[in-house]
Every structure is written in C-alpha cells, then in structure tokens.
Amino acid sequence: MEFFIQLIVGGLSVGGTYALVALGFVLIFGVANVLNIAHAQSIMLAPFFSFILMDQAKLPAALAFPLALVLTVVIALIVYSAAIRPFLVAGRQSGYLAPFIGSFGASLFIENILAKIFGSSSHPFPIEIQRNVWRLGSIVFVPMQIVSMACVVIAALVLAWVVTRSKTGRSMRAVAENPIVAESQGISARRTIVITITIATILGAASGILFAAGNNELSPFMGMEYGLKGLVVMIIGGVTSLPGAVVAGLLLGIAEALAVGYLSSSFSMVISFGLLFVILLARPTGLFASASRESRP
C-alpha cells in the first residue's frame, strides 16, 4: 500500500511537470492558433543556459536561472518572428501545414545545433538541494519532488489568476476566441501573442529546469522527448483546455509511475500513447471538451 502511495506521489510530481509543458502549448495554440513545435525547445534551452552560466561563467544559481529564463524567452521570440509571425498576417494564403512544419524545422535546427556544440549525449545537471528527505508517516518525499510540486502549484495558480482575472488574461481570451473582434476593441493581437509566448516559454523553461534537476540529466534531445509527452497530455486534456492539461498531466504522471513501478521501466512511452489511444476511443474530444474558435486545423 505504501509502495502504491509512494508511486502516486512520484507520479504527481512528474505529472505536474508534464502539465507545465502542456500548458505552454495550450496557451500558444489557443491564442495564436498555431501548434508551435519549437516551443518544446524552451524545455531544453533553459537548463542548458543555466548550466553554461553556472559552469562556465560561475554565476550562482539564483542569478543563473533568471538569466537563463530571459535568454530562453529571447530565443523563443526570435523563432516566433522568423517562423510563426509571417503566417499571422491576414490574407496569407499558405494553408495550415506550413507554420506547423516550419516550427518543426526550427525545432530541429535548435536541437541539432545544440547537439553539435555540446555533444549528443547527456550531461549531469547537479543542483544543490538539501540531502534531507522528508517523511510523512512511512511515505518518503524526495526534496526535488517537493520543489517540483511547489513550482507546479504556484505556476498553475498564478496562471489561473492571470488568465481569469487580469486585463492581460482577458485580452488573451479575447484574441483566442476572435482576433478580429479583439482588435476592434483596441487589443493588438500581435502584442498579445508575444506576451502569450513569453508566458508559455517561462512555463516550459521552468519545466525543463525541473526535469533536468530531477533526473540529474541534461540532453539536447530532452526538448522533443518531454515536448512530445506534453503534446500527448494536451490532446488528452482536450487541446484548448488549461485545466484539462493539468488533469491530464497528473493522470499521465500517475499512470506512468504505476506502470513503471508494477510492470517495467520500458513501458514509459507505451503508457503515453496507450492512454492517448484509449482516450481517443472513449472520449475523442479529450477530457475537457472546450469552446473553440471557428476553425482550428
């Protein structure tokens, strides 16, 4: 029984981080109506930048992490300008596949340039977290899990507040539903999208740092690896639903943890796709079917 709860705890921790990834994708897809695959690279770039800043520039973690975040956001906005923004101009008749494939190309480019510079294999990502382990009854909480869960909860609460109660959030929801009407009310859709991408990138960057620190592993391909999980979570959760992404993320985390705990570790990817498959059969619109814009590819 304790083993079971232990697995659940681990699953919630990892699942929450998957949810962070998914939330980023959902935000960008919702507001900009684009599935930006390159967003997955913010998961990888943030820990890499942190690593370089701490290792090479010898900056303390408290300085390195925020700076890495800023650098990651800068890269994300450059990719947006080059590969996504050209498609947001009204009247551009290039179909829907082009921005998606284009973002894919950008993702490939970033990933492989990093691999060329740093080598394709993994690096350790050592973070000084206190060695002590917390206990609640006979359940063990690894400090990294606590940090991770705390980050996810804080991020989710802040995001919920921003989306539902702030002026920015209102603009984001307006642009998500109907950019032309939003513009008619003086809201600049472009500016709103830039803000959205910034928020999404921060979420992705945070998740990347949590993944790297949690697994003590940094790899140039971790972006696509966790990005794909985040995308599967996004689909399971209902594609445009923010709470759906959170619930689906936790669900996937728990399912994976249970499968790995009771079956074997090679089942990780099978679980993701298996869950997706089951949901597609049972509830094709995802867990939280949501309001949609007129046409989403």
């Binding site: 080059a82 998606f100 190309g105 480019f109 394709s120 599967v232 594609v239 099978v270 796709f273 590819p297």
Partner: protein, 285 residues
C-alpha cells in the same frame, strides 16, 4: 550498375517509394511525422515471414505492405477525430512507441534486430517497385479518388457538401500511403538483410517529411525530386548527423516561410507539363 553506385541509388530509391506514400497521405490533407513506423512494420513483418515462415521474398514483401496498410487504416480511423496538427503529433507518438516496443521485445530481435534475411532485392526489383508505385500514385491522382482526396484537403466542409466523406478520404489515403511505406520497408529488409529498430526511428520519419515538404507536397514529382536531391546530399557533403538535421531543419523552415508548397508546386507543374508534353509529342510524331 556497379556496386558503388547501386549502394547509393538503392537506398535513395527505396526512400523515394516511402515518400511517395507520404505524398498520398498529404494529398488528403493529413500529415504524418511517424511515417517510418509503417516503413518499419513492413520491414519487420516481411523479415519475420521470410526468416521464420520461409515465404518467398516477394510474398513477404507484399504481406508486409498489407500489414502496414492495415495498421495504418486502424490508426487513421481511431485518430480521425483529431485535427491535422494533432494527428501529426499522434503519428509521432505512435512511431516513438512502436520503436520502443520493438527494441524491448526479444522475439522481435530486441535492440539488435533481425538478421539473416535473404538478400533478394537489387536494382531491378527496386526499379520495378518504384515504377509500380508511380503508376499507382499517378493513377490515383488522375482518377476521381485523387480529386476526392484533394477536395477534402482543400476544404472538408465543401467536400462534405458534395457528398465526399472526409473520414473515408483520410483513412483511405492513410492506408494506401502506409501500405506503400510498408512496401518500401520490405524492400529495405530484403536489400540489407538486416533490420534494426533504428530503421523506424524518428530520424527516418523526419527525413521522409523533409524530402516531401521541400521537394514539393502538391505533386508526386516533388516527392521524387526531394528524395533524390536531399537524399544524395549527405553523400556529397559528408555532413555529420547533427549538421545534416540542423541544415534540413533550417531548409524546412526557410521553405515553409518562403515557398510553402515546396519546390515543385502546382503552378510549376502547370507551366512545365504542357512544354514537356509538346516535346514528347514532337519527339514521337
């Protein structure tokens, strides 16, 4: 053809067959980033049939293609509800899962793969297969099936209004396209004699996608052009894997922003085809 040239030509031609399959899928509006999974199904099914059931190679290859097509059909039906982008993500997830499963199941050869497959495929077999697939694709394009697929691609709502069921179009195109990929896989298995999980890797899927997207997604000539030029490029330039993918990534994004239809577009075909027809007519008058 000397061994050196055939060792470059055959893999490229086999890839071209697979990319033609991706073209058929794309002509219904769907995109697959996991195409190599179905290539891999063709590899593995045909390999097992040849080595364990000792079927003649051509039977194994055909059955491998059928198996891939069946998997494709089921997949397309289950994933029909997904919008195009998410369908692509689902194909990616499927392909990652499949290669994961295959490399951990011992009876499928595990990480080392299957070897000892009879090597029965050479340049003639590949050329015949390529020609057959080209005829099929050309025929699909010109027949009402091709028109239906393109109608669904351009506007599902309009297509439905004229009585075309988009689900059938998506599923049909996907089944045909994956069967073609499976055929290519079977050829590959019986050319190399050895197959490994890496044959259905993400890398391979990405190459297929890039060849089609850059070569031209609107016409089968694009599939051929993209595969032949980009497929040969690494041999010419001797890039390492990372540089190759980074370069392809850049190329992909560049094309999507500047020339989204890929190199061979409908307009280009419309301009060149009459001239080609004229020259052909003059030569054979």
């Amino acid at each position: 053809m000397s061994g050196f040239y055939s060792s470059i030509a055959i893999p490229v031609l086999i890839d071209a067959i697979a990319v033609l399959g991706l073209y058929v899928i794309a002509s219904s509006g769907r995109l697959s980033i996991g195409h190599a999974a179905f290539f891999g199904i063709g590899c593995y099914v045909s390999a097992i049939l040849s080595t364990q059931l000792t079927l003649p190679f051509w039977a194994s290859i055909v059955l491998g293609a059928v198996a891939a097509g069946v998997f494709g059909l089921v997949f397309a039906v289950v994933a029909e509800r997904l919008g195009h982008w998410f369908f692509a993500i689902a194909t990616l997830a499927f392909s990652v899962m499949l290669s994961g499963i295959v490399s951990s199941v011992e009876s499928l050869g595990g990480a080392t793969g299957i070897y000892g497959i009879p090597i029965a495929v050479g340049v003639p077999a590949v050329l015949v297969s390529l020609a057959a697939v080209l005829v099929l694709v050309y025929w699909i394009d010109r027949a009402s099936l091709g028109r239906s697929l393109r109608a669904v691609r351009d506007s599902e709502i309009a297509a439905e209004a004229v009585g075309i069921n988009p689900a059938y179009a998506h599923a049909g195109a996907f089944a045909i396209g994956t069967a073609i990929a499976g055929l290519a896989g079977g050829l590959w298995a019986h050319y190399l004699g050895v197959i490994k999980p890496v044959d259905m890797s993400l890398d391979r899927s990405l190459f297929f996608l890039i060849y089609l997207a850059v070569g031209g997604i609107e016409h089968w000539a694009g599939a051929l052009l993209g595969t032949v030029t980009l497929g040969m490029l690494p041999e010419v330039l001797r890039f390492s894997r990372e540089y190759r993918l980074a370069f392809f990534g850049l190329l992909l994004t560049g094309f999507m922003v500047l020339r989204p239809s890929g190199f061979v577009s409908r307009q280009l075909i419309n301009r060149i085809a009459p001239r080609v027809g004229k020259i052909w007519g003059e030569r054979h008058a």
